[in-house]
C-alpha cells in the first residue's frame, strides 16, 4: 500500500532522516520505533506532505506522492494524527471532529465515520459540546485520532499517541488501534514505548539517528536483546 524508497529529509541542511526505505502492506499495523530524535516524526511528516523530502520516493498505491501538498495527500486517503495531538483547543469536540470530515463533499460521506468514532471512543459522544481544551490528556488523544478517522483514511499514521497519557489510557488507545485495523484501515505508528507498541504491531522498523538499523516481524524485534539495549537505551 505504502512504499517508501530511500527517503531523505533535511532541515536547513541538517539531515533528519537519511535513505529510509520501508513498506506498509494493506491492513497491516507497522511500527517505527526508536529513541527521541531518531527522525520518527520527520518520517511521518514527510509522508504527510508537511515536510519536503530532499530525495527519495513515496509511493502510495502506486502513485508517487513525495513533495505533494498535505491536502492532496489527505485526499488520497492518508491521515496523520500529529505529535502532541494538535487539537483546536477552544472549539467544541463536535467542531474538532467536523473539521476532519470536510475533506468529503457529500454530507453522507462526512457523517458516516461518526458512528465508528463513537463506538471506538464512547467518551467523545458524551462530550460533544465541550471545548477540546477541557478534555483530559487521554480524551484529547482520542479526539485527535477520531478527527483523523473522520477523513476516512485508508492509511492512518499515528505520531506518539501515548505521549503524556496515563498508563491505563495508553492501553485503551493502543487497543483502539487494533480495532481501527480490524475495520480495514492500515496503520503506521511511531512510538517510543517499545513493549506495548510491538505487542500490537505486525512488523516494525527500528530507527536510529535517521536511519533504519533493523526491521522485521514485531515479535522478533521485541525479543531481540540488542535492540533493547543498543538502540532504545532500555
Amino acid at each position: 500500500m505504502l512504499e517508501v524508497q530511500s527517503l531523505t529529509t533535511a532541515y536547513e541542511g541538517l539531515v533528519a532522516i537519511s535513505d529510509i526505505s520501508l513498506s506498509v502492506g494493506a491492513s497491516e499495523i507497522v511500527a517505527v520505533v526508536g529513541a527521541n530524535g531518531a527522525g520518527k516524526s520527520t518520517l511521518l511528516k514527510t509522508i504527510a506532505g508537511m515536510e519536503r523530502p530532499a530525495s527519495g520516493r513515496i509511493l502510495f498505491e502506486g502513485a508517487d506522492i513525495a513533495g505533494a501538498p498535505t491536502h492532496r495527500v489527505n485526499m488520497l486517503g492518508i491521515a496523520l494524527v500529529p505529535e502532541g495531538r494538535r487539537l483546536f483547543p477552544r472549539l467544541a469536540v463536535r467542531d474538532n471532529l467536523r473539521l476532519g470530515s470536510y475533506l468529503h463533499r457529500r454530507k453522507s460521506d462526512r457523517e458516516a465515520p461518526l458512528e465508528m468514532v463513537f463506538n471506538l471512543f464512547p467518551r467523545l459522544a458524551e462530550r460533544l459540546d465541550q471545548r477540546a481544551e477541557t478534555l483530559s490528556g487521554g480524551e484529547q488523544q482520542m479526539l485527535s485520532i477520531g478527527r483523523a478517522l473522520m477523513t476516512r483514511p485508508r492509511l492512518l499514521m499515528l505520531d506518539e499517541p501515548s505521549q503524556g497519557i496515563m498508563p491505563k489510557l495508553v492501553d485503551e488507545i493502543l487497543d483502539s488501534v487494533r480495532t481501527i485495523r480490524e475495520a480495514g484501515t492500515t496503520v503506521l505508528i511511531v512510538e517510543q514505548r517499545l513493549a506495548e507498541t510491538l505487542e500490537i504491531a505486525d512488523r516494525a522498523y527500528v530507527l536510529q539517528t535517521g536511519r533504519v538499523v533493523m526491521s522485521g516481524p514485531a515479535k522478533e524485534i521485541a525479543g531481540n536483546a540488542d535492540v533493547r539495549r543498543a538502540y532504545l537505551g532500555i
Binding site: R86, F88, R90, R94, Y102, L128, D129, S136
Partner: protein, 325 residues
Amino acid sequence: MASAFELRRRNQLIIAAAVVAVMIALPLGIKDVYIQNILVLTVMYAALSQSWNILSGYCGQISLGHALYFGIGAYASTLLFVKFGIIPWFGMAAGGIFAAAIALIVGWPCFRLGGHYFTIATIVLAEIGLILFLNWSYAGEASGLQIPVSGDSWTTFTFLRSKLPYYYFALGLAAVVWLVTYFIEDSKWGYYWRAVRENTLAAQSLGVQVFRSKMAAAAVSAFFTAIGGSFYAQFVSYIDPDSVMVFQFSLLMALPAVIGGIGTLWGPAVGAAILIPLTELTRSYMGGGGKGFDLIFYGAVIMIIALARPEGLLSLVTRTRPAPP
C-alpha cells in the same frame, strides 16, 4: 449532527429577528438629530466590526489596517458618482469588489507573515493608502471630494431632511453581514477559518489549505468593509483621506468585536452598542478640548477587557462547561 446544536442555531436566528425588529422600531420616536446620528454610527460600526470579525475573529488574522478597505469603499463610490455620474449603488458594489481584490493582492505577501508581523503589515499598508490618497490629485488630494446633494433621493442615496434612511440602510447592512457570518459559521469555510486560527499546523494536517482560507476570509471581510465605507461617504456627503482612511477607523472596527467577544456571532454588535454611544457622548462632552481623549479612552477599554474578560463581554453569558473531574 445533534439536535441540541441545531436548536441553538435556530435560537440565534430568532434572537436576531427580534433584535432587528426592535432596532427597526427604535428610532421612530426619536426626533433629536444628534441621537439619530449616534444610532446610525452605532449600527454602522456593528456592521463594520462584524466584517472585521470575519478575518480577524474567525480566521484569527488580526488586522489593524481595515481603514484601507473602508477608504477604498468611500472613494470608489464617491469618485464614480462625482466624476462619472454613476449612482452610488453601483459604486458601492464596485468598491466592495475592488477592495476584495486589493485584499487578495495585499494578502498574497502578508499572509506568509505570522501573528504580529501580519498585524504590523496591515497598519503599514493602510498608512501607505492614506499617503497615496493625500497626494492623488484626481481624487482631490487632502481637500477631498464633495458629494452633491440635491435633495432626498433613494436613487442617489442622499437625504437632507432625515437621517432615518441612512439608519435603515446601515441596519440592513449589519443584518446582512450578521447573516453571512451566521451561515459561514456552520459551513466548511467557517470551520476552516477557526481551524487556522486555533492551530495552523493541525489545520494543515487535516488537509485545510491554510493560505487559501486566509485569502477567502480577507476578501469577504474587505468586501463588506468597503460597502460600509461607501455608505459612510454618502452619510457624511464629504470625504477626504483624513476622514475615511485614518488609523482611528481601523481601531473602531476592531474594538467592538474585542469588547463584545472576538470571533463570536454577537460580539461586534454588543461591543458597538456599548462603545460607539460612549465614544460619541464623551466626544461631545469634552468638546474641542478633548482631542486625543478618545484614544486614551480606547486604551483604557482595551486594558480593562484584556485584564477582566479576555474573551469579551459575551463570555459572561455564554456558559462553557467545566472540565471533567
